[in-house]
Symmetry: C2
Subunit: 220 residues, 2 copies
């Protein structure tokens, strides 16, 4: 990670509000992206923004996104128009002594750029492997890989991590000095995402145990 | 809820991909929005989309959003340009017998429209109460309410829920018939967000117990 370039310093990827929350280390960008399962892809359609949840995976400084070839947002992104891809983790509700200073603890990565439609067969297969492994580690090798028809039905996009920003809030509320003596509880209620008990497909033949790649999975 | 109008039938709020996942009952829109803490607000800035996590709250068919008066996205939205506000809950990772049919279970609400900058003092106070109570139920009455300076530093936006769509995926994978006999586990690994143990602000005077509005909080 030491040799990785720092995060982009373009105007739109420079954190202005609460700049002390900005992170400028590329490793932190990777950490926020790698810890998420779904991001929000924004495109412009007919002059208006459209924001949809989108699966992704990262390989180096390339983010792979995919979706149906029929999705209008994917088509707009594939046509080379500007996109924004944002991954947010909510880490806690910040309870303050004043309504104004209530807040959230979070980690957020925002990537700007133009996506590239991946057409090279080898990179398409690699990108789908990266996506599958990000969503479900171990599944690429353990399950049937895409056939020609499935490959044709999938749009794969690559988004370079050249222009990105990371913003993180941690810690207690930032109440005003004069509120600190108030008899009001203040602090953080942590939030986290946990996995539950695996639910087997009702169509599963008898005798197939839950594999370790599922049963042993932990998030973050 | 019975008398509420159905969800919008405009072209861009009509679910096209996997239309069987669309929900058309307005109560489902409310349920998805009310269960979330943060949404992703998309605006168009200099022709490019910008997507940022944004707190919100709902009163009837009005969504209130707020942020600093200095935030460029909020200013763009306040100027009346088109916005898209999306709330997504990730409910599970869907493990299939084929890489292609891996998926996620989720609930997602997408709202399109133009936001309105709220300037009426009474509605501003109401909107901030709605936002605070959505983030931290019970906090509006329990903590110091905004003073004039804090009110001036906050942009409050109202977004009408006139044009919206809801998409939900539940249940097991949709594997192809010919894959069903494979000796590969398939099913759903459920995900949910849970609260942890409240972390008191280190600056809290001794003797202030965690209130029930925090200690007793449950999500979903």
């Amino acid at each position: 990670m030491d040799s990785a370039p720092p995060l982009s310093p373009t105007a739109r990827s420079t954190v202005r509000r609460n700049a002390t929350r900005a992170r400028t280390d590329r490793a932190e960008l990777y950490a926020v992206l790698d810890a998420g399962l779904v991001g929000h892809l924004g495109v412009v359609l007919d002059g208006a923004p459209v924001v949809l949840p989108t699966g992704y995976g990262r390989r180096g400084d390339t983010l792979y996104l995919h979706g149906s070839t029929g999705a209008a947002t994917l088509r707009a992104a594939a046509a080379g128009g500007p996109v924004c891809f944002t991954v947010t983790h909510l880490d806690g509700v910040v309870y303050a002594r004043s309504a104004f200073h209530h807040s959230m603890n979070y980690r957020c990565a925002v990537v700007h750029g133009a996506a590239r439609l991946v057409t090279d067969p080898d990179e398409r297969r690699l990108g789908l492997e990266v996506l599958t492994e990000h969503l479900a580690p171990g599944s690429w090798e353990a399950t049937r890989q895409p056939d020609r028809k499935e490959l044709a039905a999938t749009s794969l996009l690559a988004l370079d991590l050249a222009e990105a920003s990371v913003k993180v809030r941690t810690g207690p509320p930032g109440d005003d000095e004069q509120d600190l003596s108030a008899s009001v509880w203040a602090g953080v209620l942590p939030l986290r995402t946990v996995v539950g008990t695996p639910e087997p497909d009702p169509l599963l033949p008898p005798g197939i145990a839950v594999p370790e790649r599922v049963a042993g999975r932990a998030l973050d």
